[in-house]
């Protein structure tokens, strides 16, 4: 889902930066100073998750934890992702500095949307319902991120639309994996540290 440097057009870059600066500013305003350490920890977890490779048949993928970040942090997910993606660009050369705005928006917006839709549902008394909702949230976040990446490619050049479709299909197995991981994570946090979801 990381757009690489040199792929996006000027319009897409400006749109990405405008969206991510606005959302990060709102996120920073809504981040309580006492919660800043927790935000940093989740940001670190998001960063580290990208280093864990999971084998799927002959290929392998890495976790992105978009939905857990959104469900735990809400609006603060934007600054957390901006910092994590910045560090990924500097340390591992994933993505880049110029496309940081677009990449933050691509990953931050789905996290925020799943928080708005599923935030209350995963705190339901019914454990099974909560687990199922967490699964849907995890899968939906990846699908939305893949769609947004496609939109940015489409803004850059309409001829990229076929490549964007391919990108979308490639993310379907990852969406299922992320859904399962999100569901397990939410169930674990509900049992051991419900204050994380409050």
């Amino acid at each position: 889902m990381h757009n690489s440097e040199g792929v996006l057009s000027g319009t897409a870059l400006i749109a990405g930066w405008a969206g991510s600066i606005t959302c990060t500013a709102i996120g920073l305003k809504k981040t309580d100073t006492n919660k800043i350490v927790r935000t940093a920890l989740i940001s670190s977890a998001f960063f580290l998750a990208s280093l864990v490779n999971i084998r799927i048949g002959p290929s392998s993928t890495h976790l992105s934890l978009l939905a857990p970040v959104g469900l735990i942090l809400g609006w603060s997910a934007f600054p957390a992702m901006l910092i994590a993606l910045f560090l990924q660009a500097i340390l591992f050369h994933f993505g880049g500095l110029l496309v940081l705005g677009a990449n933050t928006f691509i990953m931050g917006l789905p996290a925020l949307i799943v928080y708005i839709i599923f935030g209350k549902m995963i705190r339901s008394e019914n454990k099974i319902f909560s687990g199922v909702m967490a699964f849907i949230a995890g899968s939906l976040a990846i699908i939305m991120a893949a769609c947004l990446a496609g939109v940015f490619l489409g803004i850059s050049d309409r001829n990229f639309i076929e490549a964007a479709k391919l990108l979308f299909y490639a993310h379907i197995p990852l969406a299922l994996i992320e859904g399962a991981v999100t569901s397990f994570m939410i169930m674990f946090l509900r049992k051991t540290a419900p204050e994380f979801l409050s």
């Binding site: 690489s4 440097e5 040199g6 792929v7 996006l8 057009s9 000027g10 870059l13 990060t24 920073l28 981040t31 100073t33 006492n34 800043i36 350490v37 927790r38 935000t39 940093a40 920890l41 989740i42 940001s43 670190s44 977890a45 960063f47 580290l48 998750a49 864990v52 999971i54 976790l63 934890l65 600054p79 957390a80 901006l82 910092i83 994590a84 910045f86 560090l87 500097i90 050369h93 880049g96 500095l97 110029l98 050049d157 001829n159 990229f160 076929e162 490549a163 479709k165 391919l166 994996i177 399962a180 991981v181 999100t182 397990f184 994570m185 674990f188 946090l189 051991t192 540290a193 994380f196």
Partner: protein, 232 residues
Amino acid sequence: MNIEAITESRSHSDISPEVLLSCSVIYALAVSLSDSIYALALASVIPLLLVITKKLNLSLLVKLNAFNLIMIITIALTWPDFNGGLTKGIVIALRVNMIYIFFAVMIYPLGYAKIFAAMNSLNIPEKLRVLFLLTLRGIFIMHERYSCALISLKLRAKNLHGLMKLRAFAYITCSVLLQSSERSERMLQAVQCRGGFSGFIQTGHKAMSPYDVIMCVCFAVYAIAIIILNYA
């Protein structure tokens, strides 16, 4: 975090990190906007000079170009016209290489301390800078625990598959998060004892040196020349 590196005095021959960061972003922007072969030829002058004069990690460049090759093939096969797609893919691969070489020489070797100093000088909001420092600290703490947990998982259960494997990853992530959370609460209390986050960052703003000004002017002219050549 190397605190000495933040507070060290800058020699006259050094370019300040915020200027390097700004010039790199301006260069990357000019390259990203370029499609014409002449503009790209002009833009490739500095990366070529950097390749000749500086030592580059060639293995990373090879990996990058292996990815570029897949990208070129994908674009060529999905583009309405194969030759058009191939050209577009090659242009993008050229841009990616130029920007990567530039960043690899100018930005990536700076280190956290100088990048943090650059964030300071560029007036990035304090909350974001604190978040950057704490995230970096969190990565160092969590990475150690995460690696131990993954090694332990490999030793205990070599042949984990399917949902069990995903559940193990999810539980490890949550466990590490909770262990680090306890430590972070103590970190927060320590910060509050020292007077909170206001004044958490004490590095001062440095004035631009003549070298910085010359660098900025040169890069602005270079970027404008690339853009003009692109649209000419």
